[in-house]
């Protein structure tokens, strides 16, 4: 219904002269099947070793700002472990590895005044660092608090500089950053598959993000939720599966698995 109205309005208002305007900003939609990247985290397997958050920090050049107490509460985190004891909300498990939920209806995207955060056609909630103006509206809108602000210009020691991942841009002071499901890895793999003229296989994506690759307990599974054959889809359909704060209607793309909740 709303799509019909939009089409009608578009037809009504589109003047012929506008058709002649350059049209470069169109987002590239990949040909073929539409994907919806998602993640399943098996809490019954998770050993709380923190390897996922360390690997994420290394992979995505997330600054740590050392032990300076001024930076307490100001150190960016893309993936972190949340212990919910003793006063955890009803129905939530005691331990939660928390990446960005990559919601299907993300509040952060709605509120961004300049489109610095947007939904990728493949379901990933992306952030354009260079476009972000640092208003932090996305941070206050995110019910999972999964966004971090660069409160200061990131500094790197000499050894850290040598370990920076060249595939991921470092973010300057004044921008918000977040987990991207290691989008650079996903993109590189898609490109390689395209050049080889084949579709992606589930086994090559299931441990693609750095957190999934680093998990020694094999608790994190990544994949295409649109593909009913994929492992992540099967896990998402499991009776053990649940999503966080479903009552808010954000439809997260991250599923958790737990035998007994609460």
């Amino acid at each position: 219904m709303s799509s019909d109205r939009r089409t009608f309005l578009r037809g009504l208002v589109a003047l012929p002269v506008l058709g002649a305007l350059p049209h470069e900003a169109r987002a590239a939609t990949p040909p073929g099947r539409r994907r919806h990247w998602g993640m399943a985290i098996d809490l019954d397997r998770c050993a709380a070793c923190n390897a996922c958050s360390v690997a994420c920090r290394e992979e995505n050049n997330v600054p740590s700002f050392g032990a300076d107490p001024r930076f307490d509460g100001a150190r960016p985190e893309w993936m972190s472990l949340l212990w919910q004891e003793p006063e955890r909300p009803e129905g939530l498990p005691e331990l939660l590895p928390l990446p960005c939920m990559h919601c299907e209806d993300p509040p952060c995207v709605k509120v961004c005044p300049v489109g610095a955060t947007y939904k990728d056609p493949d379901g990933i909630t992306m952030q354009i660092w260079d476009r972000c103006i640092g208003c932090r509206y996305c941070m206050v809108a995110c019910p999972y608090s999964r966004r971090s602000f660069n409160w200061s210009e990131p500094t790197w020691t000499e050894s850290e500089q040598q370990m920076l991942n060249p595939d991921v841009a470092t973010r300057p002071h004044g921008v918000v950053e977040k987990c991207t499901f290691c989008h650079h890895r996903v993109r590189a793999l898609c490109e390689r598959a395209r050049l080889e003229g084949r579709d992606l296989r589930d086994d090559e994506v299931r441990r693609l993000p750095a957190c999934a690759a680093a998990c020694p307990a094999d608790a994190i599974t990544f994949g295409d939720l649109e593909d009913p054959e994929s492992e992540v889809s099967e896990l998402a359909a499991s009776p053990r599966a649940f999503r966080l704060l479903e009552h808010l209607g954000t439809k997260p793309s991250v599923y958790y698995l737990k035998k007994e909740r609460g």
Partner: protein
């Protein structure tokens, strides 16, 4: 000498501008000092980053919004008074408010400018903000209304109203103002002559401006409420009551600030603002404070009695927990803002000082209440059991708070020295008075307004990405700026209508006696023998 009347040199013409007293110099110097401190503080923030503020990440022990956003919301609230008072005075012909209308409009403009500075101080990358917002702003974000309707529409319409209503006094000041500023008065007067035709046209312009600005005022203040009220993921914010309560608190703080400014300037500059104006504003103040207190009770009762667990938790944190002291201060101040003017209202002879003290309390209460809206839902309103936060502003934020407030003070005090803040005597404005046919003016206005509407339509629809579907960028570059320009042009139609000179030659319209100039500059008839001599000289070849 070819004039029949002349001003005798022995009686100097009293200036339309007041002479400042010592208090003016003290306050102005204090204001400049605080603005300078804020500039220094902001330079420190730019150099070292936002880590110098007390804000931190949400869910990791901090609040991502703090004093700057509270100050922004408060200042936009203060701006409420100007347009409301000026519009009410014009629409309902409330002559008792006329002496404060210009001061009110000035307060609106200065508060909006200071508010825009406060929100810019909050941005992590102000340069990107200034570049990206006009180019890429998206209406799906409640901030869009802030950047377009509040800053562009609301501010610009206030400037237009201020300009149009000030033309008559500017025309007076061309003759009576300081010599160095006469070019300024001439530009502002933009050819105003005290004719009955211009008077009638002026009446129509101000009436329609007042009519159109009032809905914009409601929309602009509601968008501020929507910034918080539309966030389902933040307990304590998500409420249909946010927008109306924002409007009411904006009214209370704005009227309070207007009372304070009127009383202060009356003392310092001897402005002729009668007690009756202050009493009327005091009456308005207690009504607004009472309504807001009612909203607060309803809000807290709903949240604590039957609200979801987290809304209850946030409400308890505010009323009896970590923020209870601030809550008591806010509610206490607002109660004083209701009770004291209400007592004055009941008395036969109300006290202006009492009303002014209550107005000061209301402003303190409003600022604290804004902080209570902004902060607790962030620090204590996480759905997941994240670390509860704490927020205390750093000296940088306090300095910027003082600086932005002082900027309003400095601008008002400074303006009072170059332009009369109380209207000169106005002829009765009759917007129904017949006007000669002026098809060129009508055509120019219609054309101008049509262009404005077209820009609004094109800019808004493309901002909504109606032509570009799911694309990230609008199809037309700077579509939001085009929308804002259209809104501004729409209000500028009033200027086109008033200022456009009539090209048709016709009989000169009779001049209205300008009472203000006549009183300010008493002119006496020359004695009969001198007049006879003049006539004799003129008759000579």
């Amino acid at each position: 000498m070819n004039r029949i009347f002349a001003t005798p040199r022995t009686t100097p013409r009293p200036s339309l501008l007041p002479t400042p007293r010592l208090g003016w110099y003290v306050l102005f110097a204090l204001g400049i000092g605080l603005v300078a401190l804020a500039v220094y503080a902001y330079s420190v923030q730019l150099e070292r980053g936002d880590i110098v503020t007390g804000m931190r990440d949400l869910g990791r022990g901090g609040a991502a919004w703090g004093m700057y956003i509270a100050m922004y919301v408060y200042l936009v609230g203060v701006s409420f008074a100007g347009i409301t008072v000026a519009s009410i005075a014009r629409l309902f012909k409330l002559h008792v408010l006329e002496p404060v209308t210009r001061l009110a409009e000035l307060l609106t403009i200065t508060a909006l400018v200071a508010g825009a500075i406060a929100v810019l101080a909050d941005l992590g990358r102000v340069d990107h903000g200034l570049r990206s917002l006009p180019e890429l702003a998206r209406p799906s974000s409640p901030f869009y209304g802030t950047f377009t309707l509040v800053v562009a529409g609301y501010l610009f319409s206030s400037v237009v109203a201020f300009f149009v209503t000030g033309r008559r006094d500017a025309a007076r000041m061309v003759h009576d103002g300081p010599r160095v500023l006469r070019w300024f008065y001439r530009v502002w007067a933009s050819g105003y002559r005290f004719t009955s035709e211009e008077n009638a046209r002026h009446g129509r312009t101000t009436f329609w401006l007042a009519i159109t600005i009032l809905p914009l005022l409601v929309v602009a203040h509601s968008t501020l409420g929507f910034i918080f009220g539309l966030q389902a993921g933040r307990p304590g914010w998500y409420s249909a009551l946010q927008a109306p309560s924002f409007i009411v608190l904006a009214g209370a703080s704005g009227i309070g600030m207007l009372i304070l400014a009127a009383v202060t300037l009356r003392r310092m500059l001897g402005l002729r603002i009668p007690d009756a104006s202050i009493h009327w504003l005091g009456g308005f103040l207690w009504v607004l404070c009472l309504v807001y207190l009612y909203f607060t009770i309803v809000e807290e009762l709903t949240a604590t009695y039957a609200g979801p667990a987290l809304d209850r938790h946030v409400a308890h944190t505010i009323v009896t927990g970590q923020f209870s002291r601030s809550f008591v201060v806010a509610v206490g101040c607002l109660f004083v803002g209701f009770f004291v003017p209400f007592l004055q209202y009941l008395r036969a002879k109300p006290s202006v000082t009492g009303i002014a003290i209550a107005a000061a309390f209301v402003n303190v209460g409003a600022l604290v209440k804004r902080l209570l809206i902004v902060v607790p839902s962030q620090t204590n309103g996480a759905y997941l059991a994240l670390e509860e936060g704490h927020y205390s502003p750093s000296w940088i934020e306090w300095a910027l708070l003082a600086g932005t407030a002082s900027l309003v003070l400095v601008m008002v005090l400074g303006f009072a020295r170059i332009f009369p803040l109380v209207h000169g005597e106005e002829p009765d404005v009759d917007r129904d008075a017949p006007l000669p046919r002026d098809p060129i003016r009508k055509l120019a206005c219609l054309l101008w307004a049509a262009i404005a509407v077209a820009l609004v339509f094109v800019g808004l629809t493309d901002s909504f990405r109606l032509w570009s579907g799911d694309e990230l960028d609008p199809r037309i570059p700077f579509a939001p700026a085009i929308f804002a320009t259209g809104v501004m042009m729409l209000f500028a139609t009033a200027i086109v209508y008033e200022v456009l000179p009539s090209r048709r030659r016709r009989k000169r319209s009779p001049r209205i006696v300008d009472l203000a100039r006549t009183r300010a500059a008493p002119r006496v008839a020359l004695p009969a023998p001198i007049r006879a001599t003049e006539r004799h000289h003129r008759s000579q070849p």
